[in-house]
Structures are given as C-alpha cells and as structure tokens.
C-alpha cells in the first residue's frame, strides 16, 4: 500500500490529524484557559475576590465545617439502590479532607461516607463536598458555577461527557493520536533542524501555512509531547482500571498491608474517642518540614475515621515550590496526637510519576512558567489549526463535492471562532444574569452551548459564499462578534462589580486585572483580524467581478 515508511507516516499524520484535529484544538484551547482556572473563577464570582488563604484553624473553622458536610444527594440516591434494607440516617464518616493551593481564596472540603449493607461490596462508600470561605467557615452557594475550574477545566479533559466516562476516553484517544501525530510528523518532516526557524512569509499561502504548522509543531515539540503523554498518565487509572477490576483483590490487600506497616489503622475501631488538637499536629508538621530545610504550608489535610479510637490525621505539604502537587506527609494519631509515621523520601519511580503528573496539573507557584504554559497551549492550537487549513487548501481542487468543501470550512469556523465566541458569551452571560438567579450555572452553560451551535449554523449558512470566493465571510463576522463580546465582558464586569482596571491595577488584584487585560487584548486582536479578513473578502469580490462578467459573456456567447 505504501512504498516507504515516510509515505505511511504521512497518511497516518494527515488522516488522524484531520479527524481529531477539531477535537484537539478544543482540548488544547480549554487546557490553556485551565492554567488560569482559579483566576477565571475570581472574575466570575465577585464574592470570592479576596486574597488566597492558607488552611484555616481546625478548632475554629474546619471541625465545624466538616461536621456540617452532607453526602452528595445524587450519590446517596444511587447508593440506596445498591443496599439491602434502609440506609441509616447518619452515615459513618470514613474521612474528612481539605485541599488548597497558593491560588485559592476559597477552600474545598470533602468527605467519604461508608455505605453499609451492600452485599456486593463491603467497602462501598459515597462522597460529600462543599466550598467554604476559610476566613469564617461560611459555606459558599453550590448553585454558582466556577466557570474556570468547574466548566472550562473539565471540558478540557472530559468534554463534560460523563456517561461511562466516555469523555475521558475520547480525550485519551485524542491524546494518544496526538502522540502518534507527533512521532509521524517527525518522521515525515524532511528538515527538522535545518528548518527549525523557518517561516517564509513572502511565499504563497499554502507554503506559509505549512511553515507555520512545522514551526509551531517542532519548536513546541517537547511541550506537545509531554502534555499529551502526561495527560494520559494523569487518567491512566480510568483507561486501565486494573486495581479496581483484574487486580482488585491484591490491590486491596496491599493497601491493608501497607497501612499496617506504617502503623496507620486501615479500619475504624468502632469505639468513640475524642480528637486531639489537629492545629497542633499541623504546627508540628510545619516544624518538621522546616527542620528538613523545606519550610512550607499545609496543602492537604486528611482526618481519617474522625471521632474514633483508630482515628489518624495526615498532613501533607503544599507543593508550591516544586512540580509535585503535595508531599512529605506526616501522620499523627488522631486520639493522642502522637506522631505515627513520616513518609520517606520517595523512590525514583514514584518521584518521576509525581513529576509527570505535577507537570501537567501545575499547582506550583511560578507565574512566568504559567504564562509560558498558556503560550505552549495556544501554539498547540495554531499547530493543529494550520495542519487542517493546509489539508483543506491542498485538496480544494480535488474536492469534487461543493458540500464537502463547505462542511470542512464551516467546521473550521465553528472550531476556531465559534469556540472563542462561546467562551466570551458565557462570561457575558455570567455578568448579565443576576447573582441570585436560580440555577445560574445551568443558564450560563446553556448560553455557551447555544452560542456555539448558532456559530455553527452561521458558519454553514455563510459558507455558501465559497462558490464565489476563497474565504467564507463567517470568519470575519464571527471575529467582529468576538471583539464586541470580549469588550462587553470587561465593561459588564465594571458595571456589575465596580472593579474596573484602574481599581484592580491600583490595588493590585491580579486575577481580575489580568483577566480584564486579556479580554481587552482578545477584543483588539479579533477586531484587527476581522478588519483584515473583511478587506480580503471585499478585495476578492471586487477582483472576481470582471472574471465573472467574462464568464457570463462566454456562456451567453
């Protein structure tokens, strides 16, 4: 079928790139936004616009907040179908947890509850979750959508398709194919290093697009490769859930054995007991880290079997200055407060695993690197988009069916400008809808989806013009719309909260100031691009007129 390896790789690169290209642009774009998901959350939830907080006092804030946590109603309803008889009113708590990073003003707390009487699974459990203001313990409304961390971020890795984890598998397949595209791309590229810096802007369109594709692909090759790879590693437990299926029994036995070796009780004793001061345990953990020349804050706190004689408290250091998310766990007896176990220095394999996962999830404090990640992500979008633009351009003459050409172009418009339009539309909706609107988050998501669908309808409708010209007017029309909506979002933020740029820059409150600045840059760039594209369309039309006239005359003759 193929005469050489290069030909085979070219086929693979082209077709998988084209089929999954649209999806990969979406994954890369929302991944780039997720680098600043917490900051986007601050912009969309004005009541959370305050400085990041460390884990608060257990006795003053956390204990009360934990004890008010309740199981997730949906999980509870589902659990009722799995058990024999009725579930008790109060489910036994397996653990309480709190997790924070250096960018979080609010605190995420969660719990796991034991489900008794499940004949199929004696260790069945469900979860509970809440977000609190760590300054006073007030529970924040669950009705509000954290658009950054609860909508854009999950869209990046699950496409919000939760049925049978379908979204995770689609994204995982796309990431795998991205790796294939990278390897095959390296094989088919004839002058990988010789043309590393090549962008020939004075050559014809097709050459320029290919140069841009090669430049962005090769320059950011390490970024593309490691992000596709680590994306797969992060969710490896979903793609290969052996520890929950084939190897469930040995995995469980190993967990029990490991807990016993560390002296950390695997199960509750069933005997109520008072809890020692968790605040003192956190202070002791910080003292130990400081002695190791690694002073730091608590990033993750776990209270296992709370109120039981077998209770133990695990305190993990926030990985603010390292790539690893959290680490250096110190474990205390929950009842007596005595030190039970200190996590040893991890093995090389565990260290590599933590590095690869931390590299992708990026909880470290490094603003320049965060911006470089956004740059890498957007370069990835350019690489993939130029890839399929090159494909379309190359095959334009070969495409016999007008519908095929129109479809490919309309999908490209929908994927690029349509996605941006939907993104700024959800922000505008967030500022327009009153804060107390019931189900505000669902309305915002509806606006996002509807805008994207409308942009697709518009792209198909306007692609009719491709019969006469090379460029669909949908490109510039949607770019104008992006410019208008992005600017509106900034103005609406000012009107609805009073936080205009002079205020946020003077304070300074960077999450809101920088997001406003980004929106203004997006607006300006979209406007410039829209004008240039509009001019091109107009010139093409004017230029086409004599040709058309000539053709009409010929046909009349």
């Amino acid at each position: 079928m193929f005469n050489s390896l290069r030909q085979a790789m070219a086929w693979l690169h082209t077709w998988f790139g084209l089929v999954l290209g649209y999806l990969l642009v979406v994954i890369f774009f929302f991944g780039s936004l997720s680098v600043f998901d917490r900051e986007i959350d601050r912009w969309v939830l004005p009541e959370t616009r305050f400085e990041p907080q460390v884990i608060p006092s257990y006795s003053e804030i956390l204990e009360d907040a934990f004890s008010k946590l309740t199981p997730d109603p949906d999980e509870l309803a589902e659990a009722r179908t799995r058990v024999e008889g009725e579930l008790p009113e109060n489910l036994r708590v397996l653990f309480w947890g709190a997790y924070t990073t250096h960018r979080d003003p609010t605190l995420s707390i969660f719990a796991e509850y034991a489900i008794p009487n499940n004949p199929d699974d004696p260790y069945d459990h469900i979860h509970g979750h809440a977000t609190i203001d760590p300054r006073n313990g007030k529970v924040l409304s669950e009705d509000h959508l954290n658009i950054g961390s609860e909508f854009f971020y999950p869209l990046h890795y699950s496409l919000h398709l939760h049925w049978k984890n379908l979204g995770y598998f689609i994204v995982g397949f796309a990431a795998l194919m991205m790796l294939v595209a990278l390897v095959s791309g390296v094989v088919i590229h004839r002058h990988l290093f010789k043309e590393l810096f090549t962008f020939r802007r004075d050559k014809h369109y097709q050459r320029r697009v290919l140069d841009l594709h090669n430049l962005t692909g090769v320059a950011a090759l390490p970024f593309h490769f490691f992000f596709a790879l680590t994306g797969l590693i992060v969710f490896a437990y979903i793609y290969l859930p052996v520890s929950e299926t084939l190897l469930a029994k040995p995995a469980f036995e190993y967990a029990m054995q490991e807990a016993e070796e560390k002296g950390l009780p695997f199960e509750a004793a069933g005997i109520p007991a008072a809890t020692a001061s968790v605040d003192e345990m956190m202070a002791e953990a910080k003292r130990i880290w400081a002695l190791r020349d690694a002073a730091g804050e608590v990033g993750f706190l776990l209270v296992n079997h709370p109120g039981d004689q077998n209770s133990y408290v695990s305190v993990f250091r926030a990985g603010t200055d390292t790539v690893s998310l959290v680490g250096q766990g110190i474990h205390f007896d929950g009842h007596t407060g005595e030190l039970l176990y200190e996590d040893p220095v991890h093995t090389a394999i565990a260290g590599l695993n933590e590095f690869l996962i931390g590299l992708h999830l990026q909880h470290f404090e490094h603003w320049p690197l965060r911006w470089l990640y956004v740059f890498g992500g957007l370069i990835g979008c350019v690489c993939i988009a130029t890839g399929f633009l090159f494909f379309v351009q190359k095959r334009k003459r070969e495409l016999k069916s007008k519908f095929g050409l129109r479809s490919v172009d309309a999908f490209a418009v929908t994927t690029i400008t349509g996605m941006l339009l939907a993104t700024v539309a959800i922000l505008v909706a967030n500022r327009l809808l009153p804060a107390d609107t019931a189900g505000k988050g669902s309305w915002e998501i509806a606006v996002f989806c509807l805008t994207w669908l409308l942009s697709m309808a518009h792209a198909f409708w306007r692609s009719a013009a491709l019969k006469k010209q090379a460029l669909s007017p949908a490109w510039h029309e949607q770019s104008f719309a992006i410019a208008a909506l992005a600017l509106s979002a900034v103005l609406l933020n000012w009107i609805s909260t009073g936080d205009h740029l002079l205020v946020t820059l003077a304070e300074p409150y960077w999450p809101v100031a920088s997001f406003d600045l980004v929106l203004m840059v997006v607006s300006l760039l979209s406007f410039i691009i829209a004008r240039r594209l509009h001019r091109k369309v107009t010139v093409a039309l004017v230029g086409a007129q004599p040709e058309e006239r000539k053709r009409e005359e010929v046909s009349r003759a």
Partner: protein
C-alpha cells in the same frame, strides 16, 4: 526580585542561543546578510556560542528555582525563543545584526 532578574537573564540567553544557532543555517544567514553562502569560519563558533548560551540559560534557571521547575522553565523558554527568532528572521532580520561580528 533576584529571581525575576535571573529569569529575565535566562530568557535573554535562550534568545541569544537560538539566534546564534539560527545564523549557522545558510537560509537565515542569507536573510540577515544577503550573502548566499555562509562565511567559511562562521558556523562552528556560532554553534558553540549558541549551545553555550543555552547552557548558561539552564544554569540561571536552576539558580532561580527548584531544579524540577527550572527544567520546565528552561524548555519553555527555548520554545518561546525559537518562535521569536523565527518571526524576527522573517519580519525584522536586521535586528539580529546584534549577534554578528
């Protein structure tokens, strides 16, 4: 503040390193000088300068941050540098005269 200065310097060295490496390629030498072929004695010194600058950039990153973060910053700074040099060569090649003697 010191960290910021180190990171700005690291970025500067990445840019310089990539500029020198680019100038060892015939096509880019032509963009800058208008000469079709590379002067006989140029490629090796430029190549060495380029690699040395990239190594200095790595050292500066390690001085600024924990090594695990430093490696990521260094790799990403080189990515940014390649794109910047490619566009400079394409739009404003004369800016790279700075790196030529």
């Amino acid at each position: 503040m010191l960290k910021l200065i180190l990171l700005v310097l690291a970025m500067g060295f990445s840019l310089s390193g990539m500029a020198w490496l680019a100038l060892t390629k015939k096509a880019h030498w032509y963009q800058l000088s208008g000469e079709r072929s590379l002067p006989h004695k140029k490629p090796m010194p430029y190549r060495l300068l380029g690699y040395a600058a990239l190594l200095i950039s790595l050292a500066l990153c390690i001085l600024a941050d924990n090594i695990s973060i430093a490696i990521l910053v260094w790799v990403m700074s080189m990515t940014l540098a390649v794109i910047c040099i490619a566009f400079t060569l394409s739009f404003r090649p004369q800016w790279l005269r700075l790196f030529v003697r």
